[in-house]
């Protein structure tokens, strides 16, 4: 897979979220991070009980997903997280690596900006920080950039069939999320817990 950020095709978060969710056949859990990450998850399939839409705890999509994965080792769990969000909680990559959470995959949507607050650049973008390299240096060996849509599919397939933890970095465009998630945390918690109670 792709090791560096050179020659990465810029993709679209909404399209790839749809692609990811459509390919999930075994009640995989998907935790959508703050803002656009969960708006596009909502847009991909709002009827899916295994989706969890995080509200305001920026940076906690991967830790929440890790908790689900630890509680249910047979279920595959995805976190969809923005680059700015992950920057807030980089230490979680070491925690995930230390616990060697086999059934966890963190997808990082990297557009280099805080899109939802007005498109300000992240310090990581200004410094050309490589988030996948950080994941690898944190101890997550299965961390790679997806060079294009086909490689994204291949990396997701790998995350579904091999031991993780996995990190998939995706360079995305600056398009805002189009589908605002309902702000109904109790309903989301109830539907997610009901879905998690069903066997994989």
């Amino acid at each position: 897979m792709t090791d560096t950020t050179d020659n990465l095709h810029v993709m679209n978060r909404a399209a790839l979220t749809k692609r990811l969710v459509a390919g999930l056949k075994n009640r995989e859990a998907v935790i959508g991070g703050i803002g656009n990450s969960n708006w596009d998850l909502w847009g991909a399939d709002k009827t899916r009980g295994e989706n969890f839409y995080m509200l305001g705890s920026m940076g906690l999509a991967a830790p929440i997903a890790m908790g689900v994965a630890l509680a249910q080792p047979k279920r595959r769990v995805f976190a969809l997280e923005g680059d700015g969000s992950l920057l807030m909680q980089l230490g979680c990559l070491s925690t995930i690596a230390a616990q060697a959470v086999k059934n966890l995959c963190v997808v990082v949507w990297d557009n280099g900006i805080y899109q939802i607050t007005g498109g300000q650049g992240t310090p990581a973008a200004a410094a050309r920080t490589d988030i996948v390299a950080i994941a690898r240096a944190s101890g997550i060996a299965n961390a790679a950039w997806a060079a294009d849509e086909a490689e994204f599919d291949a990396l997701v397939a790998k995350a579904l069939t091999t031991d993780g933890p996995h990190v998939i970095g995706v360079k995305i465009d600056q398009e805002p999320g189009r589908n605002q998630t309902d702000r109904d945390p109790i309903r989301f918690r109830e539907s997610f817990m009901r879905a998690m109670a069903l066997p994989v």
């Binding site: 705890s57 929440i64 890790m66 908790g67 630890l70 925690t95």
Partner: protein, 175 residues
């Protein structure tokens, strides 16, 4: 059940037993000196899955996810670590009504030498109160089992976070 002869007699053994009695298996923590005997006992007991996190917020996220997926958990930290949590608590376990347990060893009072710890300690109870998070301060060994068990039980019954504060009166505090 344990018999009277071999009943646990330390605060940390009592707390560990209360967690087991309520099927709280996941323990995430940011290390703390006062909590050391509790954490050591938990690590030595295969009933628990226990590990350190880089930040308290992260630990709250992990326990929230695990609890929603059927594994009960607790976050352990010291007072200054708790003070990093208001946004994570308000927007995650409180907003979603997920019973995340917290155990905080209290620093900053009764002989604190560090001014920063003394000041941040005063923020803890107002933060908990402002979010309606039930908290009890454990000060006495004879009340510890009842307080721990009932607080944990109520958190799960009412689906609301709860916090047990370990007072220096009980733990002896930081030497």
């Amino acid at each position: 059940m344990t018999s009277a002869e071999d009943a646990p007699v330390t605060w940390h053994a009592i707390l560990r037993q209360a967690l087991k009695d309520n099927d709280v298996r996941l323990v995430t923590y940011v290390p703390d000196n006062v909590l050391r005997p509790l954490l050591d006992g938990i690590h030595a007991d295969p009933f628990f899955t226990a590990f350190p996190c880089a930040r308290e917020e992260e630990a709250v996220g992990i326990v929230t996810g695990a609890t929603m997926a059927g594994m009960r958990g607790v976050v352990m930290m010291q007072t200054s670590g708790f003070a990093t949590l208001p946004n994570a608590l308000a927007s995650l376990p409180v907003a979603f009504q997920v019973p995340v347990l917290m155990v905080v060893s209290e620093r900053g009072t009764m002989g604190e030498f560090n001014p920063g710890q003394a000041i941040v300690c005063r923020t803890m109870r107002p933060i908990l109160d402002s979010m309606g998070i039930e908290h009890h301060t454990m000060t006495r060994l004879d009340e510890a089992a009842f307080m721990a068990d009932r607080t944990i039980r109520q958190a799960f019954a009412t689906r609301w976070p709860a916090c047990l504060i370990i007072s220096p009166l009980l733990s002896g505090g930081r030497k």
